[in-house]
Symmetry: C2
Subunit: 320 residues, 2 copies
Amino acid sequence: MFWVDGLECGYYDRPTLAGHVSGQLAAVTVTIAFWEDTLESMDAIVKWHELARQNSDLVVIARSGRDIIEAGEAGKTAIVLGAQNSTPINDRIGFVELLHDMGLLVMQLTYNTQNAIGGSCYDQNDNGLTRFGGNVIREMNRVGMLIDLSHVGERTGRDAIAASEVPVAVTHANPRSLYEHPRNKSDRLLKELTEAGGMLGLAAYNNISGPYGESLATWCEMVARAVELIGIDSVGIGTDLSQNAPPSHRVWMRKGRWTQDEGVGATLPGVTPPDLWLKSTTQFPAVAEGLATAGFSADEVDKIMGKNWLRLYERVFAGN
Amino acid sequence: MFWVDGLECGYYDRPTLAGHVSGQLAAVTVTIAFWEDTLESMDAIVKWHELARQNSDLVVIARSGRDIIEAGEAGKTAIVLGAQNSTPINDRIGFVELLHDMGLLVMQLTYNTQNAIGGSCYDQNDNGLTRFGGNVIREMNRVGMLIDLSHVGERTGRDAIAASEVPVAVTHANPRSLYEHPRNKSDRLLKELTEAGGMLGLAAYNNISGPYGESLATWCEMVARAVELIGIDSVGIGTDLSQNAPPSHRVWMRKGRWTQDEGVGATLPGVTPPDLWLKSTTQFPAVAEGLATAGFSADEVDKIMGKNWLRLYERVFAGN
């Protein structure tokens, strides 16, 4: 059993990591940067090294697909270091390799604002992938760093899918045809993504799940619809779970350094999001049961719960 | 034949790297930082990646002792990335591991000024290794980064030798009992260094060689005296050669960011240094002949020319 959570945020401590293990997760991709630059991202990696050393009975930091399999076999959780923005590379093409050397295995091209690589899903316009962005993608392919398009704009996302020589991922979003939201992905993008071997991690995050976010049962219904849309081999889970995060963390995520406005949110205007049905990764066994109840076979449940992620990770992390 | 130059500075291009190969060097430790901070050091590593990719028929960047042996067997030169200061870690203990992840295998604790780790050979006083310095040494031991004491002060150097759990090196200096200079090392320090398994890379740099720096023959005489002093297994070569360096490089090396005085030099007041007998690493075969002429056996020449370095590198780079 190799269950994977393709995207989490939050603050980690021993109980949270123990939760990953009791949730039977072989791997969790965590967020070391939203707006953090190179030095700040390195500080975040150092904190993960410390946490992993202090909890070496529970977790290891993954450097490869092999590390995830070994962690799963040993009853541990492999921590995959990921960034939700390309700020860790300080707009330097050569830093892609250096960040990879330090263990960064997943990087989103843009977070909530346009950058030197391309456009974000929240900006008015998206001019597509830049020349620099094309070079970053080639370099990420070469060193073995997964390209994440979750918060990336439609045009840049489609350009990135076309430019990448290895499959890419939307690690935490939902199909826009199931719930209309700027963060969710068009059927056209999802078709191009999956035809190129890429995959979609369905998010539990209530802001982008709409009515499907009400309960485990409704969320599993969304999984079933997504599988109808893009196929059983292209769907995984990227909860977007944010455990232990203080309010200041949410402000930083949204405000970063690009606005003075603390009111900027990922919630649609006037909407108060309901509580998340998913509170912790300890619920992953219940998710597996929920998927079975929704009609998936054991083999299909395995694919959604982690096998699809593992296949993609192994392919991409091997480099090009 | 595994010849090694334990320390070089300078600017590298294809002819210089081809010179390493024709000089039959299995490894050269280069300087990526004198005063450069983390980001500047990463920029320097990126430049080495580019240079190594463009000249992959000549060089590889070493990550281990094994890489050096494989380079030597393939008729290439392994580039060992080293720093002449601890500025690359930005006074962060956790960055030792991250710099090592990026390929930094050798780091001098201080350059020409006191820092958070300890005292330099040029400052009036040396208070010895600090608490932070002790932690840095333990971390360097653990990850497999060679500790270099060449420009380090006497007291800090001796403290570091005592603190380190694996052998350390003076990569480029000469015995002070052969030529009195603040950069050269006392017999007492050399005794403690070598008793702990460490070694001394003798420098060709004329400022610290005195009369021994006049010619290959006089320099080989210094090698013979050094071997009498500390034994055949503790001596190597660290030329301190600086090829292609423009005058601005020398100013940066000496002035860094610690003084407004461009006149600060490593030359003793009033002394104009003679030309260096060593112009390029292509002369390494001539050095081997010079050592044989000075009376060393073939086996002894091998040890001085690189086998001692290789043994130390393999031990230290394996980590603790």
